[in-house]
């Protein structure tokens, strides 16, 4: 018995995520420019960048292997699947039976593995530097994210994202101290994973301070376009995850077409506020030294563990 309405909703969500992700990045840049009292390049600039990159020729190093050439598509594919799983408009997604919260973290880890391997492929100092730093951020950020999702799972009694969002949206407004801890931890993790200040500067040109940019130094043309799009998708996925866990109001129920149509402006509004908040955090912080990053992430991990402990103790 195939749920056609569910599949249609799923497809809509996926296409929406892929098409809107660069817009979110553009919005964050716009807010940052406003706060810094300068003129932004425009909300649609990421789309123009992608178009420009797609038209350019790919320049490959002599010793690039097939893994290097196929990695951008793999990364984009896994992040697109991740975007399809997170409930943004609708709770009843057929794909939620295929992958739950743990599989979502696994998908993000898969993308990270491939980008790190692709970075090490050319064999320059910058690539391996970026790969090492990315794995360093990853080995602390991934458990922290998993623990945040576990806290939500224990509260809602399930690891399936639909059930988590459904439970959290329908419980009467209760203040969960454990979710407060989890929220702080999640914010810290998303800042680290999306290569934002205070962990990494997405606009830097200095190789020695890069994490994410150092890994994609060798990519050009359409490959770089896919990776940039995937990075915007990652920001989108993390924002939607945060909204689904901590502000799940306005997400439609199963098969309710009117609800889905109404959920879209609610989502856009929440994303706009989230993007502005991200820009504010970036403006107010300074980038920390690289070897302070494990401390930052370790703190996030321990806050996430504390969230679960507080839940066990306080029962909420």
């Amino acid at each position: 018995m195939i749920n056609f309405a569910g599949i249609a909703a799923q497809f809509t969500e996926l296409m929406l995520a892929i098409l809107l992700a660069p817009l979110l990045t553009g919005w964050v840049n716009q807010c940052r420019a406003w706060l810094q009292n300068r003129r932004a390049p425009g909300l649609l600039q990421p789309y123009r960048n992608l178009n420009k990159l797609f038209r350019k020729e790919v320049v490959l190093a002599h010793n690039a292997s097939p893994l290097f050439r196929i990695a951008p598509y793999l990364i984009f594919g896994s992040l697109a699947l991740a975007a399809a799983i997170v409930p943004t408009l609708d709770i009843d997604l057929p794909l939620n039976a295929a992958a739950d919260a743990i599989a979502l973290v696994g998908l993000l880890a898969l993308a990270r593995l491939f980008i790190a391997l692709a970075a090490m492929d050319i064999g320059t100092a910058f690539g391996s530097l970026g790969a090492r730093r990315e794995m360093m951020v990853g080995f602390l950020a991934e458990p922290a994210l998993l623990m945040v999702l576990f806290t939500a799972s224990i509260i809602s009694g399930s690891t399936s994202l639909s059930t988590i969002v459904h439970t959290l949206a329908h419980k009467e407004f209760v203040i969960y101290p454990s979710m407060a801890f989890a929220g702080v931890a999640f914010t810290m993790v998303s800042l680290a994973e999306n290569a934002r200040i205070p962990v990494d500067n997405p606009a830097t040109h200095l190789e020695l301070t890069m994490i994410h940019e150092a890994m994609v130094l060798e990519y050009s043309g359409r490959h770089l376009a896919m990776i940039e799009w995937a990075a915007s998708l990652k920001l989108f996925v993390y924002s939607c995850m945060g909204l689904a866990l901590f502000f799940p109001f306005g997400v439609a129920e199963s098969g309710d077409w009117l609800g889905i149509v109404l959920a879209l402006p609610a989502l856009l509004l929440k994303l706009a506020i989230g993007g502005a908040a991200l820009a504010l955090i970036e403006i107010l912080s300074a980038k920390m030294r690289i070897f302070r990053a494990p401390e930052f992430l370790g703190t996030a991990f321990l806050f996430a563990v504390l969230a679960m402990l507080v839940h066990v103790l306080l029962g909420s």
Binding site: E57, V58, A61, Y73, A99, G106, F139, P143, F301
Partner: protein, 665 residues
Amino acid sequence: MHLNSLDAALGLVSVWVGLGLAGLLAPSSIRLVSRVLFPIGALTGLALAAVALPAIFEPAVARVLPLGLPDLPFHARLDALSAFFLLLLGAVSAGVSLFACGYFRKGEGTPPGLQGLYYHLFLASMALVLLADDAYFFMVSWESMALSSYFLVTSDHRHAEIRRAGYLYLLMAHLGAISILLCFGALQSGTGNYTFQAMREVAPSAGWASVAFLLALVGFGGKAGLLPLHAWLPEAHPAAPSPVSALMSGVMLKTAIYGVLRVTLDLIGFPLWWWGVVALAAGLLSALYGAVYAAVQTDMKRLLAYSSIENVGLIIAGFGLTLLFRGFGMNALAALALTATLYHCLNHAFFKSLLFLATGSVLHSTSERSLGRLGGLIHRMPWVAWTALVGTIAIAGLPPLNGFVSEWLLLQAFLFSPGLPHSYLNMLVPIAAASIALTAALSGYVMVKFYGVVFLGQPREPRLAEAHDAGPWERVGLLWLAAACVVLGLVPAAVIGMLDPVTRLLASSGIAGLARGWLFLAPIAPQRASYSPLLFFVLTALLVALAWLAVRAFYHGRVRRSRPWDCGFPGLDARMQDTAEGFGQPVRHVFEPFFRIERSAPTPQDVRPRYREVIDDRIWHWLYLPLARGVEKLTALVTVLQRGRISVYLMYSFVTLLVLLFLVR
């Protein structure tokens, strides 16, 4: 005459023994060994797996063998647990034997015929350990397993460090064997009957059962590589030839797990809950320790050995969780934890063997084990590189391959433990889940380091340009194991159906009944947790393909080759990539208290500055060296007895005679 599965299994074991003895006919002939004996050995392994698979679902079969001492014959038994581990042994050894056909060469220490003998005796004794039904037969098979693997480890006995590694291995194996023997002694509870059937029927008191459990954990844990008895693993695995390392890591460690499962859940019967806490703590500590040490290694086989310690830690942690649930009577959750444990045993056997075999190919074509002298091998050795990529993704626990499934099951078992009666235990659950998540993330780090430094990047030595790819036999072996990793990842519901009889035997409950068909894995209920790797894989592949096609359709596909980005510095060479030590630096920095680091830094006046750092195992210095010194002091006291004069020795005999006469009076 109806041939039951036990007879078939015993028959195949004797084929292995026969193959081994056949190797003695022409010890130096490499052609006999690699063209005839090993392929037949591989086929025998496949046949054993084929016999064991249906035997999992059949009731137990027992038989008394006509071997052994007159009053103590050997008892053999094939039940669901033995059949599962036999399946593991058969399937993995088939792949390894096929690889070994192309691997063994002449002139490396032991003659090939003798190696064939030790190899097949090793396989046969492991199978007999799994089939043994009394303590005597078990110990005989266990000893022959230890001895044959010792000879295999010291194959290349011309090097002193290999001999030393073998000695350490033999010593630890025997200490473990003593512990296991004492455990069987505690289990027979004074009846004098050492058969397992008798041990099942006797219900030992809680004190003796605990003693037996702890002895079993020490003995079998030492063989499996549990902390702090792990010191032999990082020495013995690199010293042995790669197919042997693959067998030891993949299969021999699992026979130790089989032993501890058999003793605790079958022979003792009903475990106490605090045993679970001990096992869980030991397992989690092992796992974290192994992962952290693996991240700082510079030798590729030592890295894999420490990774084995990490995975064994995870298996024992799952086992501890099973005991915890069983101790409180929560059988369904115990079945979930046990399924996760057994699944991880199966997974680890396949992906670790695959990785060890890949390192074997690399070692053969480059003669380099050190990560600092490898690199860029994906261009020269594509078969090995791509199968090793499958192994890397599997061991890092990423979907849709098999490592992810067992981790998923284990995390589900942790999450859905409802209120345990003791509050300390409830708080243990988040901390244990956090440790497992951290270990899994660290293993991802370790594997990126391993794969990236060995296969990717630029070659760090000019000699690597002559590396050749694996031969046809080696390719078949690698493909077999890689295919198994993929299959085990894509159809987990079928595998869980296979594990159901085993969990019913040990934990009186199974989870397969709740599954939602072969496509979805929903161990508890679909709303609570559901995962479908096949759909996942299909969707990812579809999305990747669509992305590629869309880009190709809308835009051109031109590519131009050029030099890599060098930031304006013209002299970039291969030595400017990350070394293995460099890649491990973040872990070394964060987890510094775990290591014992000796550094020597250059002074500003050094003409040729050298920076040296040696990372040692802390437990070696805290536990093993003081123990060794203590034993030496003790023996020094005892050597006082050795006088060298005949009259003194005669006096010893005389005094003993007098004492005995007094006692008999």
